[in-house]
């Protein structure tokens, strides 16, 4: 087979050995030479890096071959605590490697950036996930961080955060501006790191899923779903058919509720609160209906290993059908108003354009990617039940500006509501939960949260408890793009750009 037609699996099989009991996609154990060959291959293959994390001394890199429809993990068992950096061929690896060092103490050699990322020198222990156990804390002042230098006439710095003006998660944004124009934005994150992955270790899946659902409260269903599907893949659990459908109804309502809130918030940040006033009423209707059906407005703790905690009762399904029908006309009216306001469009069109070359280097998931011509959607590729029984296409816009990110969300609200209507009709009967056997295994999954795909990876111990769970929220592949999107925009448009991305801080920081 000629090299240019060799797919991901074939190439990785040439670099290392496939590992048993990694599901549903293969994991290849590479040696140091194989890892270097992988870096060479990534230099000329268009395989997105989906994630990079450590499990003890082993470094894992998840990759996708989109044209072949293949997914795989390439692993390296480090011997001296180092591994060759992927940063030169995959810029998304840069921050993932910094976080990996903070958490597991493994160093990426040849990397361009050796600054700590999540570790601000405030933890009670260092390298909490290191194979040999956590090291004693290395404390240093929290403000001790070398921001990238900037050189030029008439430049000034604007530090923003971690406490922000509104009701919003904390992070630090260091702007350099020339007058009103942003010359550089550099974000510093990690402020909400809670040690989630460490807390999960040793817990049963039923206990640990509660932590997964609190990785990012606005995506509690998607994160719990990623965790559960990874555990189910690792343990070989066959979830009952109806559970897939109830989970999807929850996931789509979560998508709708978030998009409604975000569309309103973006318009509010462009000084047009009218749309937010109405969209938040629609969002409230969704939350109240979800509370009635599943016992919690945000549906926390609703998705559990093996299925769902609460089945969808017939009267709640009827209420959902009524809500879906009632939502679309007022939502359409809001979209028409957005389209008709020149002063609003003036703020959103051509603002915050994601740079094309960076989009092609990061392959951003979610609405950020779909607004810039990168049409990824985990519900379609790799796909997971029940979406394989629903035909739909991910919306695709190419302008990559705030307006495009608003339009993607509008289209997804319509699409998700229609999907919910179809799911309510097509949903099979039957049980909604099964037991998860306690056995060892490794599982990987991709789930489409409202802001984009979450990668979930788990290794179960022999007693079925969590030896290691890693969640790579979509935000890891979007935060760096925000920095490029605000270049040459005015400082006053930053909130608009930031809201149009709506990256997660907690989902990122873990």
């Amino acid at each position: 087979m000629s090299e240019s037609r060799a797919t991901l699996h074939t190439v990785l099989a040439g670099f290392g050995q496939a590992v048993a009991s990694h599901r549903p996609w293969p994991r290849y154990a590479l040696d140091i030479a194989g890892w270097r060959q992988l870096i060479d291959a990534l230099g000329h293959r268009r395989w997105p890096l989906l994630g990079l994390w450590a499990d003890g001394r082993t470094v894992h890199a998840a990759l996708e071959d989109h044209s072949a429809g293949e997914f795989a993990v390439a692993s390296l068992d480090t011997v001296d605590g180092t591994y060759a950096s992927l940063g030169a061929v995959r810029p998304a690896a840069l921050r993932l490697e910094r976080a990996l060092r903070d958490l597991a103490g493994l160093n990426a050699t040849g990397g361009a950036d050796d600054r700590p990322w999540l570790d601000h020198g405030q933890w009670r222990a260092a390298t909490p996930l290191a194979a040999e156990g956590a090291r004693p804390a290395t404390s240093r002042p929290g403000t001790d961080y070398r921001f990238l230098p900037v050189d030029g006439d008439g430049l000034h710095q604007i530090p923003v955060g971690p406490v922000h003006a509104g009701i919003i998660e904390p992070g630090h944004f260091r702007f350099h501006a020339n007058g009103e124009t942003i010359v550089r934005l550099e974000a510093r994150l990690g402020y909400t790191h809670k040690g989630t992955e460490t807390l999960m270790r040793g817990k049963s899946p039923t206990e640990a899923v509660r932590l997964a659902g609190r990785i990012s409260g606005d995506s509690t269903v998607a994160h719990a779903l990623a965790f559960c599907r990874a555990v189910e893949a690792a343990s070989g659990t066959e979830v009952p058919a109806r559970a897939h459908w109830v989970r999807a109804v929850m996931a789509e309502w979560e998508r709708v509720a978030n998009h409604l809130g975000d569309i309103g918030a973006i318009c509010n940040d462009a000084a047009f609160p009218y749309i937010q006033a109405h969209s938040t009423v629609l969002r409230e209707k969704v939350l109240q209906a979800c509370a009635k059906a599943f016992g919690h407005r945000l549906m926390m703790d609703g998705v559990v290993p093996g299925g769902v905690a609460v089945d969808l009762a017939p009267e709640q399904a009827a209420a959902f059908a009524g809500l879906a029908a009632d939502l679309l006309p007022p939502f359409a009216a809001l979209c028409r108003i957005y389209d008709s306001k020149g002063s609003l469009l003036d703020r959103t069109v051509t603002t915050g354009i994601t740079i094309r070359s960076e989009v092609e280097r990061f392959w951003p998931p979610g609405p950020v990617g779909r607004a810039a011509g990168a049409g990824r959607d985990a519900r379609l590729a790799p796909g997971y039940p029940p979406y394989d029984e629903l035909s739909f296409a991910a919306p695709r816009f190419t302008a990559g500006d705030v307006d495009a990110r608003v339009r993607v969300r509008m289209e997804e609200v319509r699409q998700s509501v229609h999907m919910i209507q179809r799911m309510l009709v097509a949903m099979p009967d039957g049980p909604t939960r099964t037991a998860v056997p306690a056995r060892a295994g490794e599982g990987m999954v991709l789930v489409e949260a409202f802001r984009g795909e979450i990668l979930g990876w788990v290794r179960l111990a022999d007693d079925g408890t969590i030896a290691r769970y890693h969640a790579r929220d979509a935000s890891w592949l979007q935060w760096p793009l925000l920095e490029t999107a605000v270049y040459d925009n005015i400082v006053a448009d930053f909130p608009l750009c930031n809201k149009s991305f709506n990256c997660s801080y907690s989902g990122h920081d873990l």
Binding site: E169, T192, V281, S506
Partner: protein, 180 residues
């Protein structure tokens, strides 16, 4: 758009009636405001929200307080951008250690009289993150707390009950200074 606005004139408002100030919350606050009796606060409260490492769930429900259904501002309670303008610090999250200094500085920057409210299970007890190497835990491990509103996250109604109790307690037995 004019059609939507005209339609709203002839339809019933979506805003719910406010709940009574929560009994538990009032009990927690009894006595705390007496100590600050020299200052008159009036019937409005300014809140500075601080995310001390939450998962963002509490923030979503706090946001909901400002929607037309809960409409917090009609009770004379509003959110402010600066701690300098605040009477109340509404804090969520298990005080991630990376946020601890920012939280303490923000609270210290708030002029007296001020109240500190722990919103959500994480701020009240550390929640699922209690004992983590990366968190201080319950808010009261780093700063005295005047009111706790539990929940994961607390619903807008539960938040409203707690904040209304704070409002009543602050406006209650304080006399207006006589004009000179």
């Amino acid at each position: 758009m004019l059609k939507q606005i005209t339609r709203s004139f002839f339809s019933r408002p979506v805003t719910i009636n406010g709940p009574a100030a929560g009994g538990d919350a009032l009990k927690q606050l009894a006595g705390k405001v007496e100590a600050l009796a020299n200052k008159r606060l009036g019937r409005s409260l300014a809140i500075r929200e601080i995310d001390a490492g939450s998962c963002n769930g509490c923030e979503l429900e706090i946001h909901a307080l400002n929607n037309p259904i809960y409409d917090l501002e009609r009770f004379g309670i509003r959110f402010v951008a600066s701690p300098r303008h605040a009477d109340v610090l509404l804090v969520t999250g298990p005080v991630s250690l990376n946020m601890q200094e920012a939280v303490l500085r923000t609270i210290a920057a708030t002029p007296e009289p001020r109240w500190v409210v722990a919103a959500g299970d994480c701020a009240c007890t550390g929640g699922l993150f209690a004992g983590s190497y990366a968190c201080a835990g319950a808010l009261d491990t780093v700063v005295p707390v005047d009111l706790r509103i539990p929940g994961c996250p607390p619903t807008p109604l539960q938040l409203l009950e707690g904040l209304l109790a704070l409002l009543e307690a602050s406006a209650g037995r304080i006399a207006s200074p006589k004009p000179t």
